[in-house]
């Protein structure tokens, strides 16, 4: 076991736990935001850099601070480690930078995006971004693509979190989509539009933190906040059959996995992630296909509370003052 202190909260966790997982055990404001990490996908995390934190004390054995900010989703804790997240101006500033980078080429088309209202990037930029954009350059654009006949890829919105690739690698035996090209031009693609007919491919939609992968069978262009989520299940011989139904009146608009507090698919009783199959997701669009369990409680702001924004704002103001002073000193 290792004792770790994050923003003044101490907790004991098993060896090998990451800083983000330890913080999630503590809960509340001190949990670093994550865009690419997904606890149930192996080797996820490390790409987006939103979870950067500062390790002010490495461990009891070696108390030296770590020289650079580290990604909380990959860095494992050591006994006696001390970490700063929202108590470090340096971390908040770095995160603001990351948010700006993630938004640099993002189309900001929230008004027409299916994900609006349940988009991690929207939450993140609200909580951690700077006001206004500083880029006047044309944003990068890609053509719209189909990944099979049920999934649409709006690559312009993609933040290259690699989650969908990990789903394809780890859930689907024959991967047909992946990352093409390099750097600025890198994109998720199938190169030639190959159909994805794997039973599990639809889970890509659920892991996508933004509105880049969407369900083509989502029948009405309806805002998620107008639809009413219900927990429901059916007897499925492929998957666990436990889903969230998004209904309006009698109509099932779409079917998704059940997302929990960090917007990850919840585990089922057997402790395994409740991934759902494409039949449940795309084919079962009648209420009569399902046994309704009851309304689903969606707590969008359990991670980032309103109060948190105010705190952050204050910290940021302090920070920009410091920055000005620092920069003056630097330029002299």
């Amino acid at each position: 076991m290792a004792r770790v202190t994050i923003d003044g909260h101490t907790i004991e966790v098993p060896d090998g736990t990451t800083i983000v997982e330890a913080a999630r055990k503590i809960g509340g404001d001190i949990v670093p935001p994550t865009m690419c990490y997904y606890s149930t996908l192996k080797t996820s995390g490390g790409y987006c850099r939103t979870c950067l934190v500062k390790v002010t004390k490495g461990s009891d054995k070696d108390p030296r601070p770590m020289p650079k900010l580290v990604v909380g989703c990959r860095q494992t804790v050591m006994d006696g480690m001390e970490v700063q997240n929202i108590t470090s101006p340096e971390v908040l500033e770095a995160r603001e930078g990351v948010v700006e980078f993630l938004l640099l080429n993002h189309p900001l088309d929230c008004p027409v995006c299916d994900q609006a209202g349940e988009c991690d990037l929207q939450d993140l930029s609200y909580g951690h971004g700077d006001e206004g954009t500083r880029t006047e350059f044309r944003r990068r654009t890609f053509p719209m693509r189909n990944i099979g006949d049920k999934i649409k890829l709006h690559m312009n919105r993609c933040i290259m979190c690699y989650r969908c690739v990990k789903v394809a690698e780890q859930l689907c035996p024959e991967r047909v989509h992946g990352v093409l090209n390099r750097g600025w031009d890198a994109e998720i693609s199938t190169y030639i539009e190959k159909a994805i007919d794997n039973e599990w491919s639809g889970n890509m939609i659920d892991v996508c933190p933004v509105g880049a992968l969407t369900d083509k069978t989502f029948r009405f262009k309806s805002r998620v906040w107008f639809t009413k989520p219900l927990d429901a299940h059916r007897d499925c011989d492929v998957c666990c059959g436990r889903v969230a139904l998004w209904v309006s009146g009698d109509a099932v608009l779409r079917v998704t996995g059940r997302k929990g507090v960090y917007h990850e698919i919840e585990n089922t009783e057997d402790g395994k992630p409740g991934w759902i199959c494409n039949t449940c997701r795309f084919e079962k669009k009648n209420l009569s296909d399902w046994v309704i369990e009851g309304p689903r409680h969606i707590d969008r702001h359990s991670v980032i509370s309103q109060n948190h924004y105010e705190q952050l704002k204050q910290l940021k103001q302090d920070l920009s003052r410091q920055k000005l002073i620092g920069e003056k000193a630097h330029n002299n």
Binding site: V176, G178, L180, Y191
Partner: protein, 180 residues
């Protein structure tokens, strides 16, 4: 165009590929992908069509997407047809201090093409590339496996003339080096 021909490696190429795959431990044959794609470019008209990439996937027994992912990452793989003679002019800092822009502009004017284009006769394609580790002999360019260094405009004339007269396709892994 390659599309109508049957896509199949020559016997020499297959023998070489088999030799290369043996360098890597059992089950790690995917490691051979970069050399094999170079050989594929040499065998199939200097570029990698989707059909050629699918064929390479079948030779290596991996998924086609794994080949696409790799082929689109590395700049030496041409995903569109190129001229017989791909002229790669280095335009990074040190070469550029020594007149790389002159070389590019001169070739553009001489051949009547822009960077990235191919001449109508399919002979030349011009492409600017990043530092080729020949900065002490700048400006420089590469055609096939050959480095042409300390370029002057006269030198460029001579080199292009020689290639036009020879009329053979040049690739990074030169075709004659596939035979062993």
């Amino acid at each position: 165009m390659a599309t109508n021909k049957e896509i199949k490696f020559s016997d020499d190429a297959l023998a070489l590929i088999e030799k290369i795959i043996k360098r890597y431990p059992e089950g790690k044959h995917k490691s051979a992908i970069l050399p094999i794609l170079h050989i594929a470019q040499a065998e199939f008209d200097g570029w990698l069509s989707p059909e050629v990439m699918d064929y390479v996937a079948s030779v290596l027994k991996i998924q086609p997407i794994e080949v696409y992912e790799v082929a689109t990452f590395y700049t030496m793989f041409n995903l569109k047809p190129v001229g017989k003679c791909l002229i790669e002019v280095c335009h990074t800092g040190p070469c550029w201090l020594m007149g790389a822009e002159d070389v590019v502009r001169y070739i553009e004017k001489k051949l009547g093409i822009k960077n990235g284009e191919t001449t109508a006769d399919g002979m030349f394609t011009l492409k600017t590339v990043e530092c080729l580790a020949s900065c002490g002999t700048a400006p420089m360019m590469q055609i096939g496996e050959t480095y042409h260094e300390n370029l002057t405009l006269e030198k460029v004339d001579t080199i292009l003339e020689e290639h036009r007269n020879a009329g053979v396709r040049r690739t990074h892994w030169e075709k004659e080096k596939i035979k062993s």
